[in-house]
């Protein structure tokens, strides 16, 4: 574990995000290279600090949409604005500092020999000083209750522990927007409960793609239903989940 080199006061705020956490998507179309049209006109607006669940059947376009938020996917038509910046080649570095994307399989995100090294990757790439990196990693691991795992090898952790560490790897970058792909997949009931508590404690804008309707109900006041590349419903989670016809029509029940 690297020793602290003194306090970097420029980066004191524990996990305080930099940007305003807003998302604005306009007339978004996306076609894969093989011709598959995955998104067919998405219009979406999310305010800073809002917690939104993205619901929909497999193949609806949820993951494709999420990958637009940090510029991994680029629109075929339309625009994506994150924290007031349009996602483009010029802004992609700053966009990725604003958006923390936590993938469904934590193993996709953990590639370092120790948990500490994995969480330090993002701040190191951002060019922070050694002291600031140390502070950020410590705060991020503490936020997910994984400080005691710092020197462990990620491969030897349980799925729940790996998911917490995967979250810490993006928290350490102080994003204003957190995007999760199926965060509760593979978790036991205790892990799921801890995840819900953790998500409820976060102040960043949260966008979570999930099939776990109970997670959506417990944590996200707003839900957006995506099916076949379009938004078919956008509103209060309790109202959407009470609409059985809607859920049946779009593979959610």
């Amino acid at each position: 574990m690297p020793h602290s080199h003194g306090h970097d006061h420029a980066h004191d705020a524990p996990l305080a995000p930099a940007g305003d956490g807003t998302i604005a998507i306009s007339h978004l179309h996306f076609r894969y290279p093989d011709g598959t049209e995955a998104l067919r006109g998405i219009d979406l607006s999310i305010t800073g600090g809002e917690k939104v669940a993205l619901l929909g059947p497999n193949g609806a376009g949820k993951s494709t949409l999420m990958l637009h938020l940090n510029g991994i996917n680029r629109p075929t038509h339309g625009t994506v604005h994150v924290a007031g910046m349009q996602v483009s080649n010029e802004t992609i570095g700053r966009v990725r500092a604003e958006v923390g994307l936590v993938f469904q399989d934590p193993d996709d995100q953990l590639f370092s020999p120790t948990v500490w090294d994995d969480v330090a990757f993002g701040p190191t790439h951002m060019g922070l000083t050694a002291g600031a990196i140390h502070d950020r990693v410590e705060v991020a691991l503490a936020a997910v209750g994984a400080l005691d795992l710092a020197q462990r090898a990620p491969m030897r952790l349980s799925i729940g522990q790996r998911k917490r560490v995967a979250l810490a790897t993006v928290l350490a970058m102080n994003p204003s927007v957190l995007v999760f792909d199926e965060p509760s997949a593979g978790l036991d009931p205790r892990g799921r409960r801890e995840l819900i508590e953790l998500l409820q404690s976060l102040t960043q804008t949260l966008i979570v793609s999930t099939h776990d309707l109970e997670l959506a109900r417990a944590t996200f006041p707003r839900s957006i239903v995506v099916d076949r590349g379009v938004i078919v419903a956008d509103g209060s989670t309790s109202e959407i989940l009470a609409n059985r016809e809607l859920l049946l029509a779009h593979g959610l029940a």
Partner: protein, 246 residues
């Protein structure tokens, strides 16, 4: 399989400097590719997997002392560029590029099951045939896993504005270590996956041989295919002998 192997051997046996013959061989390959729907540019691009071979071939340029093209000193080193060495190295690189494309075409055309059957018919030891079949199946899965890991790394490769811009991206040593960690992680996962596959296969009674269901019936057009392959090999060899060498 035999056609691909014969093509690779025939190309490998072309003498140094047979660029025209290599071009002719590549055009034959492109013609076959067109029949199975692979575009020339696509085929050529995938042949660049052989590019790391360039590193192994480069020293040949400096190791021979005949046909000296250039001599000079770079730092503490005195180097001689040999024309013969350059010819050998370039020929080797082009041969590797063309041969890899033949392998790519084979994988495009043949199913994994037919490759395993072909390896068995060639009397290769069973572990080799089974390993080849499994490798074909799982290299794509590992490729997908690697792509997802790279995507996750890219997602955390941010460049904010402000202090420390000169440190953005980390040092070369740090980037090299990170890449090495990524490759190591992929290797460990492949090993763990192999263990799980073995356990799953053993649970279903596997004994170490990759079953491909009913053996394929004898191909009635086999004599014609053998004649075609023989003609191809002769054609490439004649090109090497008769076409001008540079």
């Amino acid at each position: 399989m035999l056609g691909a192997l014969s093509f690779v051997v025939a190309v490998a046996l072309l003498p140094p400097g047979s660029y025209v013959a290599l071009l002719a061989s590549w055009l034959m390959l492109v013609t076959v590719a067109a029949f199975i729907g692979v575009r020339p540019a696509q085929l050529a691009r995938r042949g660049f997997i052989a590019f790391p071979f360039v590193v192994a071939a480069l020293p040949i340029i400096f190791l021979r002392d005949d046909e000296s093209l250039w001599s000079g000193t770079i730092g503490p080193l005195t180097l001689h560029v040999s024309g013969a060495g350059l010819r050998i190295a370039l020929t080797a690189i082009v041969k590797a590029w063309v041969s890899v494309q033949a392998s790519v075409l084979l994988l495009e055309y043949a199913t994994p099951a037919s490759i395993v059957v072909a390896l068995r018919r060639m009397r290769l030891p069973e572990p080799i045939a089974t390993s080849a079949g499994l490798m074909i199946r799982y290299v794509e899965i590992l490729g997908d896993e690697a792509r997802r890991m790279l995507r996750a790394r890219t997602s955390r490769s941010a460049s904010p504005i402000g202090d420390g811009r000169e440190r953005i991206g980390g040092t070369i040593g740090w980037r090299a270590r990170t890449t090495g960690n990524l490759v190591g992680s992929l290797f460990l996962r492949a090993y763990a996956r192999a263990q799980r596959i073995e356990d799953a296969a053993a649970s279903r009674g596997a004994t170490g041989s990759l079953s491909v269901g009913m053996l394929h019936e004898t191909d009635p057009r086999l004599p014609v295919k053998v004649l075609a392959v023989t003609a191809l090999v002769l054609l490439i060899t004649l090109c090497g002998a008769l076409l001008p060498r540079l």
